[in-house]
Symmetry: C3
Amino acid sequence: MNFSTLDNIKKTKPLVHSLTNYVTSNDCANILYAIGAKPVMADCILDIKEITPKCDALYINLGTLNKDKIKAINKAVKIANKNDIPVCLDPVGIGASSFRLKYANYLLKKNKVSVIKGNATEIKAFYYGKKLGKGVDTHDKTTNENIYLFINLAKDFAKKTSAIIVITGEIDLISDGEKTYLIKNGHKMMESITGSGCMLGALLSAFLGANKRDALSACASGVCAMGLCGEKAFASMKENDGNLSYRNYLIDEVFNLSQSDFTKGAKYEIR
Amino acid sequence: MNFSTLDNIKKTKPLVHSLTNYVTSNDCANILYAIGAKPVMADCILDIKEITPKCDALYINLGTLNKDKIKAINKAVKIANKNDIPVCLDPVGIGASSFRLKYANYLLKKNKVSVIKGNATEIKAFYYGKKLGKGVDTHDKTTNENIYLFINLAKDFAKKTSAIIVITGEIDLISDGEKTYLIKNGHKMMESITGSGCMLGALLSAFLGANKRDALSACASGVCAMGLCGEKAFASMKENDGNLSYRNYLIDEVFNLSQSDFTKGAKYEIR
Amino acid sequence: MNFSTLDNIKKTKPLVHSLTNYVTSNDCANILYAIGAKPVMADCILDIKEITPKCDALYINLGTLNKDKIKAINKAVKIANKNDIPVCLDPVGIGASSFRLKYANYLLKKNKVSVIKGNATEIKAFYYGKKLGKGVDTHDKTTNENIYLFINLAKDFAKKTSAIIVITGEIDLISDGEKTYLIKNGHKMMESITGSGCMLGALLSAFLGANKRDALSACASGVCAMGLCGEKAFASMKENDGNLSYRNYLIDEVFNLSQSDFTKGAKYEIR
């Protein structure tokens, strides 16, 4: 895997326009600073025309979606497409909400999206065009046993959308339709905090913004980075620490992540 | 007090639909994860129809209330009532805002609410139907001296509304109109952070969602849990720590809370 | 510099009505508690009439501005002016957004503002009436070499607006048009987190609310306080700590800030 993607972030400090939910926006902003990028979170349609074109990547997260946000997203994605700015789409909750699923479908039909990132439930709902899950949580999970099914699904979805498909889970999967990375980094404590998915989406946008010519490596190394930091954050946990300390350690580890962490800790295979 | 309520959360992982303010939503989400529950915070009216029925409890917090939120709340509470999903109402700021007080009154008249949780100012305003306080802060406070007045008020309010009334303060009070718990856990540092009230409301919703057959025990043990964690968080404070460390410790302590903490630390009486 | 301003906050516990963005509102609320003030963040126009007049200061932050927020701000500032409540205006992003710049201009024309606080890019855009920057980030920076230019600009802007002008940067500058403070406290880690600017705006509002008769000292000591805490927070950093720990330390240091910290650490000159 090409890990110089991290250096490119440090060098170019990509500005990531994040249209995301209010629950985890603070975490997303801080993890962008942690990796060496910069956030801008202007979400009023009146701001889009000037803000989006100046950004290096656009992060779209469908959490706490509403009609005003939709207007802003529609405009921002159009501008991003026109200006060759990569778009990372995080279809939060489309496994549980027809409103969001319908909008995600619309967005994908009308625009070019560079990356679609979701858990197994979200990606399956997106692929099959119908909701299958309970809440925002995943039921389907990627495992050693079923991973081949998800590889096929991701490849096909990638080909159909010309987007890189990222499926998060016990095993993370990144595919451009030809090459597929399986990443085995990460820790289950990441499921005990809010926003670990959103933060990954923001991170991927930073990796994309700084590595436009190699979007697949950007995504694979971005997912790997998050997983590694999840492991290191768990290793930092002391007696009496709980999930909020874990969240703090996680962002701190992103701040301290270095090239050599990748070399030492990356666990992946290519299919 | 029945402390198996906590185990029931760990076992059933209740999904709590939280319609709350943006200031403390991240804290609420993380404290729900900490206790073993799961948050979903979809607040657009277009999401309610599908999200609310799948949840185990509904948490309504009137902080940063606005017209869009009201539409979503109205629909969510109606669906919760229809599906026998417990509703915890946190009438933040109704002691200072006629707009919110009026809406809280409307909500209560039109629907069934399982629990009303507020500080002395909020509950008095709700009970008497008029605002008495300054900001979102409390002036009236429960003390050893005046507690009998609040017991009477809570009992009467509980009978009139068929809701469990929770009044927070130096002494916390939980009443279903017949039985009243007084809880003396907690720490004054909890007043030095934003969101301790909101986090309690979210916690109570988790306790309710996992203990539907014994809502009074759910509320009493939930309030006790928060107070205990507030004490333990203070005990964790080291030199140079301030209110933000305290917030972090508080959520961490909820994450680490066990049955035996209740047995050792619960301070309460029944009236 | 008059450092009794801090004591006045501890004594009077000013209530700060904060109309601010959702990304950093939790940090702003917690830093207000940390310094000894209290936040109220009601941002619906239907709440303004009752909430604003009861507050000691009004903090207006243009981050994630939208049309609903504008309505609330317009009303709140009018009420603040009528009731002699100091207004601190934080024109976030006006260097990048014509929408926000236009609104900031309107706000300033129609109302009295006690303090305008921004980075060099924002204040220059406000002064010259046109946008010059990229994102929400600053390009122009105050340095030893160019500080005289910013002093002249600030003095002139202060005279024209009858507001105190605060320009943040490597050197912070506070001017009422006659007297100018240059503050050399602070640490570059403050640029590695989201919300350090917003938190300063909230803090300044607390200082203003508790020190109405000496607004210049309030602002100068408020900026100094934030810078000192930024330095002390950095000194607290341990191995493996990153930007999120730094954010936590920063707010903790505000909580622990004392009179003697000013005496020992304040680095400023008066021009």
